[in-house]
Symmetry: C2
Subunit: 422 residues, 2 copies
């Protein structure tokens, strides 16, 4: 008698050689989590008949649900349907609905279906089809001795499109249903600090409320999951909002640049950037978000000193006396950028990203930032000795957060780059 476990079996030579990083299993796990389900064991194998058969046999003896990922395609390496038929002791048959799916998919692309295409319609006898809205390979469900076996494609976009149907079948088998989930995006707080804030708080967390973190770069996501949206759960949400306060950027997939865009839009303001060491990264982050044109008009990447002079009007004398990485220069860069645009607020950065260019006075990692408007201008500097790309990303993120806090009338963080803060 199998217990109520979910096994995941992934197949693909590219997963064993290290050529592909497996993001599918995280996608499946997150979708199941939202249905209140959890994967117990994950096995990954190459496209090898003998090992796959052994793993299938083990899982169908042990688990209530086995989700397979990969091996549904048209080539000879794609063994999933054949092996599941063998494990169930049934033949492969041409499934009429699957055949229709393949013929329609080929027809939409003006392709005459060949044997390889049609191979994808040969499924184990008795299998129920799981529709693939975006690809030619359908998935299927089959009961093998009490274990529900579900197959899914290895192509991430196809997997994503099929997951709701897969999760519905798992929920139907194991019970449970859609959960309440809140995802808060925060900036400027690290995972251990976040945990300590929650631990030190006296709030009672109901047993069915699960808190989790996901550390991204540069954000930290705080997740709250519960079986249903109750007044108790809303009190937990309020606690999180109280504890994390102005670190909270927004919900779901809100990014730092998206949060800055939203504040600018609310206030009817526009941003200008003047970048040296970040080389256009701040502008690029701002314009990666749809809707940038209403809040962002111009960015200046003034990498060389004479460009700082000719394009932004930084004074040659200041560059000589203070150096390019200095408070006076970022202030002049900011003033120049504000004057040359219609922007209400600006951010200017100059620093030494490395690996070369450091001195005893100004080691690699030194950075000056200026932000604000012509009559409300602020500066800050720090030293962040890390590799070039990390330096650029952290400086750009801190710059955007400084702008966000300025717009919202919040104080800047006391530490942006310390281990605790990021």
């Amino acid at each position: 008698m199998p217990d109520s476990d979910i096994d995941l079996l992934l197949t693909g030579d590219e997963l064993m050689s290290g050529d592909t990083v497996d993001s599918n299993s995280a996608m499946i796990a997150q979708a199941l989590m939202l249905s209140g389900q959890k994967i117990a064991q994950k096995v990954t194998l190459g496209d090898e008949r003998k090992r796959l058969m052994a793993a299938l046999s083990e899982s169908t003896q042990r688990a209530s649900v086995l989700i397979m990922n990969g091996g549904l395609g048209p080539t000879q390496d794609d063994l999933t349907a054949e092996l599941i038929a063998a494990a169930a002791g049934v033949p492969l048959v041409l499934h009429p609905d699957a055949e229709q799916h393949v013929r329609r998919w080929c027809g939409e692309r003006s392709i005459e279906p060949n044997d390889a295409n049609l191979k994808q319609a040969w499924l184990p006898e008795g299998a129920e089809l799981i529709d693939n809205p975006v690809g030619s390979a359908v998935g299927f469900a089959l009961d093998i001795a009490g274990t529900l076996v579900l197959t899914t494609p290895g192509v991430p976009s196809e997997l994503r499109a099929m997951l709701p149907a897969v999760c519905a079948r798992v929920t139907h088998k194991l019970g449970g249903g859609e959960l309440y989930r809140l995802r808060l995006q925060t900036f400027g707080i690290g995972e251990s600090t976040a945990q300590a804030l929650i631990d030190d708080d006296k709030t009672h967390w109901p047993d069915d409320v699960v808190l989790g973190f996901r550390a991204g770069m540069p954000q930290l996501e705080i997740k709250l999951t519960a079986s249903a949206d109750t007044p108790d759960v809303q009190r937990c949400r309020q606690t999180l909002e109280r504890l994390f306060g102005d670190h909270i950027l927004g919900e779901d997939d809100t990014t730092l640049a998206g949060a800055v865009q939203a504040v600018l839009r609310n206030q009817g303001k526009k941003l200008v950037t003047a970048e040296s060491c970040t080389g256009g990264l701040i502008a690029s982050m701002m314009t990666a978000e749809a809707g940038a044109s209403s809040v962002f008009e111009a960015g200046f990447v003034t990498y060389a000193n004479d460009i700082k002079q000719s394009v932004l009007g930084v004074s040659e004398a200041t560059l000589e006396t203070d150096g390019a990485v200095s408070e006076a220069v970022v202030v002049q860069m900011l003033r120049g950028a504000l004057q040359r645009s219609h922007a209400d607020i600006g951010i200017a950065v100059s620093g030494i990203a490395g690996p070369g260019g450091g001195t005893d006075d100004k080691p690699v990692g030194t950075v000056w930032l200026a932000w604000g408007s012509a009559d409300d201008l602020h500066t800050w500097h720090t030293v962040l000795p890390t590799d070039r790309r990390m330096f650029q990303q952290l400086v750009a993120a801190a710059g955007l957060d400084l702008v966000r806090r300025q717009l919202l009338g919040l104080p800047r963080l006391p530490h942006y780059f310390s281990r605790r803060a990021i």
Copy 2:
């Protein structure tokens, strides 16, 4: 008697919940591949004593080598040492070298080692230490009934630092040794086209030469692996260079921007960018590479029409008659950027990244590019209907390749965005 297989056992609740995408196993697989070794089976489990014990017991019966990843840290969840000791039937003992490592690590951070820190020095009796040059948790090696068990930390930077020692132990056990490997970075050619070029070529590929691809965004890596560097292998290398010709950007980790930097540096030239729809991404790609300051001085992000006028001198009349996304405007953007810098060559782009802003005449995805110098100026346009970020990335990559080809006197590609080309 175990056969000569390598098993990988990963542990961590975060790998089962989908909160973390596992990139460690790909890193381990690639390192082993370079030693001529391959992983046969990969099992991933949460931090659960019973399941981990069962998996350990299975692997030590079946495999010659078991690499464990994760569970070496200071917390109660970190079970690896304890479980391996149990599987080997030996006690945990305070390992003097491991204790010294932990005390030194804490000392460098002015921390007094506590019980949690020192827990990491309790290893199975008889274990040999694998040094961790960057973290507090050492790895170790232990023979369990003929299976070599190797433990590695879950933190990617620590794992990376320990992999050479781990691979050396695997090679010592299984034989083999360092392979010859060539990695060519290419742009503008897709995986299926690359495969077809190789298949159609009459070159004989020796049996011990393995070819592989890794599709990045936007590059395609072509990998050649052989047991040793022989004249035969060098002939294969020449074949690849002949087949992929000017698509080849360079070896190892060369990026498109890095290749452009190298050509600029060789020719003593500088680049300027004038970006609308890519919003600073091209400048950001150029400056992400160390050494940018000698070949890149300035970038203009002219997102709004009046900024195109005031900053780059684009004519109001042209903007009105032709629109911002037009050949005439990108030419004027390019001329303006060249005049306002000391650059020898420039790239200008204007397009509709979407999701809004499209018209019947100029749908979302329309883009115009201009590149070259004042007296040798070229333009091109296309329509690339995809999502905003992909659009920006593909346009930026194509822009950099157009610059590279111009500098090298090569023709531009006939197709940059078709499915075959990218």
